[in-house]
Assembly symmetry: C2
Homo-oligomer: 141 residues x 2
DNA sequence: CTCCATTTTGCAAATCATTTGCATTTATAT
DNA sequence: ATATAAATGCAAATGATTTGCAAAATGGAG
């Protein structure tokens, strides 16, 4: 997913390409990490001081809806957003500083799903998160 | 973890055993599922109509702190609480009705953690959640 | 059993993230 | 260039969770 992909996805689905949306998409491009809405807002505000918080929120939801970013609900209770990667991955999350990093391991692939069948549950997506202390924080203390 | 365990854990750590706490603990005992704070509040209120919401919240946090219940932050954004089981387990969560069920599968056990070592990450706990549609909701629609 | 220090509660009000209503502005198809 | 539907900014609403504080309750000491 790059800027052009995202912009054409937007247009193909009948959404307008506004300046605000461009900046939001760029904010993700710049560094493909995980941001809170607040962080995106600040990044965009640096470029476009008039942008409103609710515009950012609305567009983050929109970008999720059209499937170009993911919303991550981690234990802190604050939603994080990340650009959708081709490769599916999961996260390690620091309990002290809140830093999140991606890992390439996916346990789902190897999972025996017989238990889901038993429940009659139809899986759509899954989440695997490891909480602990990152290099920096485990050293500090 | 049963009522007596929990009550003595409380006392051992210097916390008082109040009527409100008793009712909250009983609410979990009754049926060892996953509740929102709101649900616990309603269950307790049926027994003790004067109890306040913030008392429930404070005590749910306390019970987490002393390690007898777990707080689950799922994608809906509403915290759920469950009594800590001896057996470690994970959840399937319905995207439609929000229903949560436990599954016995744990992918972590079989995980090659070499990737964590590489990051210098010290794992403390982990979460594995499968989102999809429960039996009832996948039938409805 | 009574008294006291300390913890806990109820209440109301504060927070914090997120969402919404609405008038105004903007993007784009024609 | 214009019309129209979609998007934005703003302020105010929401909903979950948290907090300050005075009053009430617990549990240990006497």
């Amino acid at each position: 997913m790059n800027k052009n992909n995202i912009e054409s996805t937007l247009k193909n689905q009948g959404y307008k390409l506004t300046g605000q949306r461009r900046f939001i998409i760029e904010a993700f491009e710049e560094c493909p990490a995980h941001y809170t809405a607040q962080e995106i807002y600040e990044k965009v505000k640096a470029q476009n001081p008039n942008i409103n918080f609710s515009t950012v929120y609305r567009n983050l939801e929109l970008l999720c809806k059209i499937g170009v970013i993911n919303k991550l609900n981690i234990s802190s209770g604050i939603s994080h957003f990340e650009i959708k990667h081709d490769e599916h991955h999961h996260h390690v999350i620091c309990l002290k500083c809140g830093d999140m990093q991606s890992i390439d391991v996916c346990p789902y692939a190897e999972l025996k799903v017989s238990e889901l069948d038993k429940l009659g549950f139809v899986p759509i997506e899954h989440k695997f998160e490891i909480y602990g202390y990152c290099k920096k924080c485990s050293k500090d203390n």
